[in-house]
């Protein structure tokens, strides 16, 4: 049975991105349609105006439909925002069999125990990701089934977010109207899109530098060991610039793209950016050094906050494969060297390598979350169809 195409949507703070992907004969996911439109009504990853956000969704999805020659009825939605947190929950269980051999039932039960996290009523679970098992104190066991022991334990990384915030994003999509097949954390999707299996094994942090949020996800020893999101992004850099130099937000954004840099280089001394005259603003010039100082301060602070979060999660020493930056912010000049300095690790820009069909877009890293969400969709589809075939999945996207 061929797998139907899957549509994925990311309602970002600066851009709403829709992608439609299908699986080729080589089992690789190929993006057949993409659409992007400027977001309005979204701040720091949160929908603040349903009506405005809906416009972006409609246009982005329509573009993707036209390019892919499909009709979308259902889609997957990526969510992000500072409210998304990860909790590590421990599940433990005595091995029941008399011969103390761990059975498949033991494994499933301990996973269920670990998944049952006690969350405040306003929060919903987005993902539960099991870490390696521990058998009688021996850590790092990937498959305990068949091994001998008395006490089986597993840590579960539970990603959760505020229900109302997630519902708001879902509501925008339902208003269009589309149905939602599934919701996934944007930071997880970005990691799926950009990481190699080797990076995951050696330990790596993916930092998705979005417009309104900065999401991070760490693989240590081939499992997701930490994740989270900060309500700070590229929009903050723009806002800092607008306030520091008393220029309109739109102008600040444009100039950030032209003259942005995450370091204060020795070459910027004495140079100035000329601002042409606009209504209400006289022609003037701005010191390039001051401009870069403002950007550097914010970018460094954001990365330091991520570093502090990784430090608190105990995963900082496990980044054998360094740091991968993705999202639109990864294109800020000199952000890679800044991240290398902050983390003391090699750092690269990650583009959606695990999907094809995005070669033509000028800034593929900005599509990492949506591309990863398509991958996530196929992964979930394949896993589900093994256990319980979901008929609903077939209805998502129709070929025209």
């Amino acid at each position: 049975m061929p797998i139907p195409p899957i549509a994925a949507l990311e309602i970002g703070t600066t851009r709403t991105v829709a992608l439609v992907g299908e699986v080729g004969d080589d089992q690789r996911v190929r993006i057949i349609g993409h659409g992007a439109y400027l977001s309005t009504g979204v701040r720091k990853g949160q929908v603040v105006d349903l009506g405005q956000a809906k416009v972006g969704v409609e246009i982005a999805v329509r573009q993707a439909e036209d390019r892919g020659e499909v009709n979308v009825r259902q889609l997957l939605l990526a969510v992000t925002g500072g409210h998304i947190e990860a909790t590590v929950n421990l599940g433990a269980l005595p091995v029941r069999a008399r011969d103390r051999v761990v059975t498949r039932e033991d494994v499933e039960e301990v996973l269920d125990i670990a998944k049952a996290v006690n969350l405040p009523p306003e929060r919903d679970v987005l993902h539960t990701i099991s870490q390696t098992f521990t058998l009688d104190g021996q850590e790092g066991i990937a498959k305990p089934e068949g091994m001998q022991g008395t006490q089986l334990a597993v840590n579960m990384l539970v990603l959760h977010g505020l229900r109302n915030r997630i519902e708001n994003a879902i509501q925008v999509v339902r208003d269009v109207p589309f149905e939602i097949q599934d919701v996934a954390f944007g930071g997880l999707c970005a990691a799926l899109a950009v990481l190699t299996p080797e990076q995951k094994r050696n330990g790596v942090a993916v930092i998705d530098l979005g417009g309104g949020t900065t999401s991070y996800l760490v693989y240590a020893g081939n499992v997701v060991a930490a994740a989270g999101s900060l309500g700070v992004g590229g929009e903050h850099i723009t806002n800092d610039l607008a306030l520091a130099f008393n220029i309109p937000i739109v102008r600040a954004e444009e100039l950030k793209r032209q003259h942005g840099a995450a370091r204060v280089g020795s070459d910027s001394g004495g140079k100035r950016i000329t601002l042409p005259q606009e209504v209400g603003f006289a022609e003037r010039s701005i010191s390039l050094k001051a401009w870069h100082t403002v950007i550097h301060a914010r970018a460094e602070e954001t990365l330091l906050l991520v570093r502090a979060a990784l430090h608190d999660g105990g995963v900082l020493p496990q980044l054998g494969a360094g740091v991968v930056l993705t999202g639109g912010g990864a294109y800020l000049p000199h952000i890679v060297e800044l991240a290398e300095r902050v983390f003391g690790q090699p750092c690269i820009v990650g583009t959606p390598r695990n999907v094809d069909g995005l070669q033509d877009v000028p800034d593929p890293a900005a599509y990492a979350t949506a591309a990863g969400l398509v991958l996530y969709g196929f992964k979930t589809f394949q896993e589900n169809s093994v256990l319980t075939p979901l008929r609903d999945w077939l209805k998502g996207v129709f070929k025209r």
Partner: protein, 385 residues
Amino acid sequence: MSEGHAGFMLVGVGGGGCRVAAAAVGTLGAGPQAVGFDTDALATRAVPGMRCVLLGVPRLEGHGTGGDPVKARLAAQDDREAIRSACAGASLVVVVCTLGGGVGGGATPEILRTLREQGAHTLCFATQPFAFEGAERRAAADRALPLLEENADVLVVLPLDDLFETAGGATLAEAIPQADDVFASGLTLLWRLLLTPGFIPLGADDLRAMLRQSAGRCRLGVASASGSGRGPEAVARLMHGPLLRRGEGLANAHAVMLGVLAGSDLCLAELSEIMARLKAALASGCHLRMGTVLDARYAGTVQLVALVFEGCTRETPAAAPEGAAADGLMRTAAPGRRGRATGGKSKLSFGATGRGRFRNVEPTLRGGEDLDIPTYLRRGITLDR
């Protein structure tokens, strides 16, 4: 301007600002160099005893702005050269404006910016309109405040409603002149203090030092009393008057600059009692500077003027040097500490400003810091201009 005034200047902006500045100049006599800026030719002619510069003549043809701050800002931008030459040589400028109309809110930020570019320190006094003047004027004033705060070294905001309270049951016709009087008398006092060599001098250097340390906002308190017991009486009026929010303003102060103007009959005991009472109202660690001016004309009375600074940045860490990154979080300003930046001030003392487009969204708080406020401000990084 007499040579002894060493670069001091009083500037009135707009109709109200010129009126107050002229009143202050009137009581000071041959006092400081003063200049007024307005767009309305008729209004400038009505200001006695002070030189006035008309702004934006080609644009507005000598008419008022009709309450439009944008017109006023453009007019001031047109005439930056005139502003520069009118204030040439000034190193410490007190700028007075009344907010709610066009010129006060629109032109003052431009004038302050021009002065700052010239290297002058600026102390801006701005009144907020009476509540009865309507929500529109109040909103116009509120829009102008962040711009003033950004461009002045220190901003002293005087809500006219507070002044009005001192006027008691005054009629409308009395209220505004009376408010102007309180305002002008505060200015006059401050001015005398700065310019008259007193026994305990409080000079411009002290004020400049305060300006450098302050995080932007300050309150003005004025009180006077006469007869026996004038000292304690004046302090009580100062502390419990509405201008200092009935003592609340003093309790939250980081630094206070007190000026005492009295007749030559002022006793040492009176002075120490004034200081003791004031000190008792201040938080421990508050920096108190005092200066006196004795003038025979004030025999039997004592006048107090207090500049109460609400935020100081003495401990602001040095700007983060490039290259040191991994431990940078440690250097980040501690929660609640006010950073000094952009060659002048922090905007943190204002709840609503400094957040820009994040004004109406839930703040991103982390370790007690509001991450929506620009990092360079919170870290106290000074920007090259």
